[in-house]
């Protein structure tokens, strides 16, 4: 019998598991595959739009009036504490203040608000009068420096002001004989100091006074010194711009958190879905995974569902428009039709707000507000009530709910 089984290996699953294990609990983390962290940008978004661009995400959390939104369960201070908990787990990875959004250039040259950013992205913060040199790599087809520079240059900044930006492309050979190397293979190449010297030699002739250098986010994958080494050699501030998935900054965070979970004693079991559960009345006694050959039971005192929603397939909509939760068949909030409307560029699709409702302890509740199981908690993308991609609220919700779910379990075990 484990103290807790956590299902899912994104931010919410890993952080819940780590927090419980560090408090001395026995934890098994079950995950169908690798979690979604590397599909994100590597930044910690708390609240970017509500619906207008947010400058203080914690104030926006406190101002939430929709009782069905995940943030309705938290104060801004609590969200900040959860975000800081992650930052403390991964020292030297993030910089920033949960109470202040910064604007970072995206790979299409738009401005994206986010709260905590990897140290390798910090120099990209958009401020009035900044001068950018955006460097493209000829063999990396997911990044067009001209697009980034032109869009940055023509965008008025909120509150006034503007930046200037120009683009160059250098032919950096990530892998000999390849005209089209992936972002990840570029990052692997830049783990090698020799290759970093070659890249620096290609970029250096293009530098001009007072510019910061933006490169695609491929500056090393395992060597944490890669970005600082390139910056030191170039002698100017250098920052990374995240690419479409698979995102190297997310991979770095995912690997670090997964290692941390294992080091904390979490039993990590990858590769199989949870297909069943056992319960004694309204108390879950364990879950069942379809491991090879036979199903394996994992008995536990508490279960945390941190599977994510539609992205992972745990929320599923059939051809009749009916949405189901695939792991436990839990009751869903906001699941009434119509969930999809035909105006593609119009209002948010209602679909994205489908999920499980929870009480303040993060216990999954039914429409009557009563817990479905007394010891089943939810965290992250499975929670109902937020359109994360538009709000830019995914990581903040994941971390706040993960910390709360873990603390609820720890509190009850006391």
């Amino acid at each position: 019998m484990r103290d807790a089984v956590v299902i899912g290996a994104g931010f919410s699953g890993l952080v819940t598991a780590i927090r419980l294990a560090k408090a001395g609990r026995t934890v098994t983390l079950l995950t169908k595959g690798i979690g979604g962290i590397q599909l994100g940008q590597g930044t910690i978004d708390i609240f970017g739009y509500n619906p207008d661009r947010v400058t203080d995400p914690l104030a926006a959390v406190d101002a939430i009036t929709d009782g069905g939104h995940p943030y309705a369960h938290f104060s801004g201070t609590e969200v900040a504490a959860a975000v800081r908990y992650l930052a403390e787990l991964l020292p030297d990875v993030f910089v920033g203040d949960p109470a202040r959004n910064v604007l970072l250039p995206t790979a299409v040259g738009a401005l994206r608000p986010t709260a905590l950013v990897p140290t390798s992205m910090a120099a990209g913060e958009v401020t009035d009068g900044k001068k950018y040199l955006i460097v493209g790599l000829a063999r990396l087809k997911d990044f067009y420096p001209g697009l980034v520079a032109e869009n940055l240059g023509r965008t008025p900044l909120p509150g006034g002001g503007s930046v200037t930006a120009r683009a160059v492309t250098v032919d950096f050979v990530a892998r000999e004989g390849e005209a089209d190397s992936t972002g990840l293979n570029h990052a692997r190449a830049l783990d090698d100091p020799d290759n970093r010297r070659k890249l620096v030699a290609l970029v250096k002739p293009h530098l001009a006074e007072g510019e910061v250098v933006g490169l695609p986010a491929v500056l090393g994958i395992h060597d944490t010194a890669a970005w600082t080494d390139i910056q030191t050699q170039l002698g100017v501030p250098v920052f990374e711009i995240p690419l479409p998935p698979p995102g190297v900054p997310g991979m770095r965070i995912n690997e670090a958190l997964t290692r941390l979970a294992k080091d904390a004693g979490v039993r990590v079991i990858v590769g199989n879905r949870v297909v069943d559960h056992a319960a004694d009345g309204t108390t879950l006694t364990g879950v069942v995974v379809n491991s090879a050959g036979s199903k394996t039971g994992h008995a536990a005192k508490a279960v945390v569902i941190a599977t994510g929603g539609f992205e992972s397939g745990n929320l599923h909509m059939d051809s009749y428009g009916t949405v189901t939760e695939k792991t436990f068949g839990l009751p869903l909030a906001n699941a009434e039709a119509p969930l999809v409307h035909g105006d593609y560029w119009g209002a948010d699709q209602p679909l994205f707000k489908v999920g499980v409702a929870v009480d303040d302890a993060m216990r999954v509740v039914g429409s009557d507000g009563a817990p479905v199981f007394g010891n089943l908690y939810a965290a992250g993308g499975i929670l109902a009530g937020a359109t994360r991609w538009r709000e830019k609220s995914g990581e903040g919700i994941a971390l706040a709910s993960a910390v709360r779910a873990a603390d609820s379990i720890l509190g009850e075990a006391r």
Binding site: V270, A292, G293
Partner: protein, 412 residues
């Protein structure tokens, strides 16, 4: 020539393609694509290329897939990428004529049966460079690739003749069937002997039915019909050990064949296979289960040592996590350093092929470095060919984790 999807399970494998959201998580974790442009990656040759196959093989790059299964393991959407790629590779090989080499190296029982009676000669021949150079030129076995060491006795022979070393009375925990696989029978008797002795020490009465090869090497080389015959024969062999008795294996890849691959790749839907697969348990999985239940004797002799341990790809595909790490760390003083590396490069018979050898060594390099940094005397790994690969590449003796448990129980 067409790819025949005659089996219901093959259809199910193909249906899983629709779950691919092109997130490319598999591509980021593929150990082969990381080191060579010859293999474009599991999504590219799998969910992507499959749309163009229409029953025919469309390119040769799929031959560079090592079948390590990492892609299927890490897929968050449940796409059976590795299994689909195995099926497509089988069709490609049929279409392009199977090399003679692949026919030989995939018949492990034949190799063992031929080598055992002439073990000293066979071992001598495999150690002589000019002979290996000829073997490389003629049949394409790389001259530096690890080869198993033949013994003059088989594990089956040892079980029959051990006499006095067998326990005097039947154990208190009841019967357990031991599936040893070809490697323990012919090439690595020590692993088989120690597994049996640990099980007996725990109180099991160990039954070792006469048994053949699981067919995995045939399957990896695309010889599906022969593989089905082998695995069905093995299932029948193991069932002679008795009904409803748990079956334990210390060979992770052969165990995975019975638990999963024979059904998912070969489409064997026999209830007999499901019976055996459902009873199958890995030796370290069993020990961790006993520990969780509180019935594992933990009077281990302390050992002050840090050991590098590589959980092989085929173990990960069992969906049981990495039980050896937790079990070994029950021994006072033992610290396990997990490799954190997807694959050693060998992937069964992949790394011994002339054209794949360099790729396999590049795949394994981070693991070899990690082993050498951690302990120059001893390394651990659950799978046979991976052990041979690590040992040949690093010169560090590499054994099954059960060897350490055996010693900690004072059995050696």
């Amino acid at each position: 020539m067409t790819i025949e999807h005659t089996h219901e399970h093959e259809q199910l494998m193909r249906a899983s393609l629709d779950h691919c959201v092109k997130c490319t998580i598999c591509e980021t974790q593929c150990p082969v694509a990381a080191v060579t442009p010859l293999f474009p990656g599991p999504k590219f040759v799998g969910p992507q290329a499959e749309r163009y196959r229409h029953g025919l093989s469309v390119d040769h790059s799929i031959d560079y897939c090592s079948s390590c299964g990492t892609c299927t393991l890490v897929c968050p959407q449940g796409v059976h990428i590795a299994e689909l790629n195995s099926l497509a590779r089988g069709a490609m090989k049929q279409q392009n004529n199977m090399p003679f080499r692949d026919q030989i190296i995939s018949r492990t029982t034949l190799m063992g049966a031929v080598m055992t009676p002439v073990a000293p000669v066979a071992n001598w021949a495999l150690g002589v460079k000019p002979i290996r150079v000829i073997a490389e030129k003629v049949i394409g076995l790389h001259r530096n690739a690890p080869m198993p060491t033949a013994h003059t006795q088989t594990l089956q022979g040892w079980v029959k003749r051990r006499g006095a070393s067998a326990p005097a009375k039947p154990g208190s925990r009841g019967k357990i069937i031991y599936f040893h696989g070809c490697a323990a029978n012919y090439f690595e008797l020590e692993t088989g002997q120690k597994t049996i002795e640990v099980l007996e020490h725990l109180g099991y009465e160990v039954i070792v039915p006469k048994q053949g090869c699981c067919g995995l090497p045939l399957q990896s080389n695309g010889l599906f019909d022969a593989a089905r015959k082998y695995v069905r024969k093995l299932v029948a062999d193991l069932r002679t050990g008795g009904k409803d008795i748990p079956i334990v294996s210390a060979s992770t890849s052969c165990g995975s064949m019975l638990k999963r691959e024979a059904e998912e790749i070969l489409g064997v839907a026999d209830p007999e296979l499901a019976d055996v697969g459902g009873r199958m348990v890995d030796i370290m999985e069993l020990l961790l289960k006993l520990h969780d239940e509180g019935t594992l004797p933990e009077d281990f002799a302390p050992m002050d040592v840090t050991l590098p341990y590589h959980p092989p790809c085929q173990l990960k595909s069992h969906g049981i996590g990495v039980p050896a790490t937790e079990v070994l760390e029950l021994i006072p003083g033992v610290k396990i350093k997990e490799s954190g590396v997807a694959c050693c490069g060998m992937a069964g018979t992949y790394g011994i092929k002339k054209e794949k050898y360099d790729v396999a060594m590049a795949v394994g390099k981070p693991l070899f470095d990690m082993v050498l940094e951690t302990n120059k005397e001893l390394a651990l790994c659950d799978s046979e060919t991976c052990r041979w690969q690590i040992e040949t590449a690093t010169g560090v003796r590499t054994v099954h984790p059960i060897t350490i448990i055996h010693k900690a129980y004072g059995l050696s």
